[in-house]
């Protein structure tokens, strides 16, 4: 299969998976004790947070790869940027869906709980990272400083995850334990949650790949533009001489 075929397949699978998650989540799964139908937000909110972590993890690894032994591979830089941007979208969705879920269950749209505060921090940190990427300069300097920023911003990811156990929190512990040993949902609810995780992960892969391609095209366009400008200048020079 060609790369493009794999990418299209990923996109189709993501679309079908998300459609199935919505169908199972809204119509098939049962209501839950204490939550009533509010439990249905379970199938989308944790997957948003997971994808955000995954996206920042990918940006972290690519940035590390970029800096590692002077690889300085612009493709890794592009991948980091693409992944972080998708991560910011998913972090935004984590905050919004969390707020929508918090209002009827906890009773508040927002509170300065450790998990919520560190997640908001995560959102702003990576917005800053994306802004930093746009600061003009020599591409290699920009890429290096972006890579270092991605490594620093990633420090907040484990803090977000462990905040629930490190500090007193209103937020409950993660539904899916990091070790994978504890799953606090069962039956059709668990399967729907799992499908949500898989589908949104596929959506992440598809989005990041396309964002990466866009960045590659933009970089090449800039290169060509520069080359053309140089050629023109050179031609002018020849005419004068």
């Amino acid at each position: 299969m060609t790369r493009s075929r794999i990418l299209t397949t990923t996109g189709v699978l993501a679309l079908v998976g998300i459609a199935a998650t919505v169908w199972l989540g809204l119509w098939v799964t049962p209501n839950a004790v204490n939550f009533g139908d509010l439990v249905r937000l379970l199938y989308i909110h944790p997957p948003m947070a997971w994808v955000a972590f995954l996206a920042y993890g990918m940006a972290f690894l690519s940035s590390l790869g970029y800096l590692w032994r002077r690889t300085r591979d612009p493709r890794l830089d592009r991948l980091a940027g693409a992944s972080a941007e998708v991560g910011v979208v998913f972090t935004g969705l984590t905050l919004i869906t969390g707020s929508i879920w918090g209002r009827p269950t906890w009773g508040v749209w927002w509170t300065w709980d450790p998990l919520l505060t560190t997640t908001a921090l995560l959102f702003v940190l990576y917005l800053g990272y994306l802004a930093l990427r746009r600061v003009p300069g020599d591409p290699e300097v920009v890429a290096r400083r972006s890579a270092i920023a991605a490594l620093i911003a990633f420090v907040d990811v484990p803090i977000v995850y462990f905040s629930v156990s490190w500090w007193r929190s209103l937020h409950q512990a993660p539904t899916v334990d990091l070790s994978g040993r504890h799953l606090y949902v069962h039956g059709s609810m668990a399967w729907t949650l799992l499908l949500g995780f898989v589908s949104f992960t596929l959506a992440y892969a598809w989005l990041t790949a396309h964002r990466y391609r866009l960045a590659a095209l933009a970089d090449r366009e800039a290169d060509e533009g520069l080359r053309q400008a140089l050629d023109e200048r050179r031609a002018e020079g020849e005419v004068l001489v």
Partner: protein, 156 residues
């Protein structure tokens, strides 16, 4: 997904990215982001690290707490929930062997019920041990249990 291969790219002049924004706009964006970061770190250090006091801690620190506003956690005791007037509710919360009587102004959230832990925001009244709150936040566990499990498993 297109993952980068190991081969290095051809060397060449890489122009400044077309995504580069004007310096003034970047300065404004940068300022906003730095301000937001500062605010969040401040909130993290002041509110998030000690998000609430437990019932037994609040009882032990009653004298120091005075009438200051803080967040208090405890489990709502069965049979103590009373509606007072139109939108006031009173109940006891207990934790670590200590009990505090809470009088809340405003309707409790949908999920509020005896047996579930809550975080209330408010202060002790005068020199009494009554806690006056204006907000109730319901804590819930990460366990989601289906209602009517018998309907799924036909015979049980």
């Amino acid at each position: 997904m297109s993952t980068p291969a190991a081969a290095p790219p051809p060397p060449g002049t890489r122009a400044a990215r077309p995504g580069s924004t004007s310096p003034r706009r970047l300065a404004v964006v940068g300022l906003v982001i730095v301000a937001a970061l500062g605010f969040l770190v401040y909130k993290g250090l002041t509110s998030a690290i000690v998000f609430f006091r437990t019932t037994n801690q609040a009882v032990a620190q009653r004298a120091q707490l005075g009438n200051s506003t803080f967040q208090l956690e405890g489990t709502v005791v069965q049979g103590t929930v009373h509606r007072v007037g139109t939108s006031q509710v009173s109940f006891d919360i207990r934790q670590g062997g200590a009990t505090i009587h809470v009088e809340n102004a405003g309707d409790p959230p949908q999920m509020f019920k005896p047996g579930l832990p809550v975080v209330v925001v408010g202060h002790f009244v005068g020199s009494s041990d009554v806690f006056s709150s204006d907000q109730i936040m319901v804590k819930h566990s990460q366990q989601y249990i289906a209602e009517h499990p018998n309907r799924v498993r036909a015979s049980s």
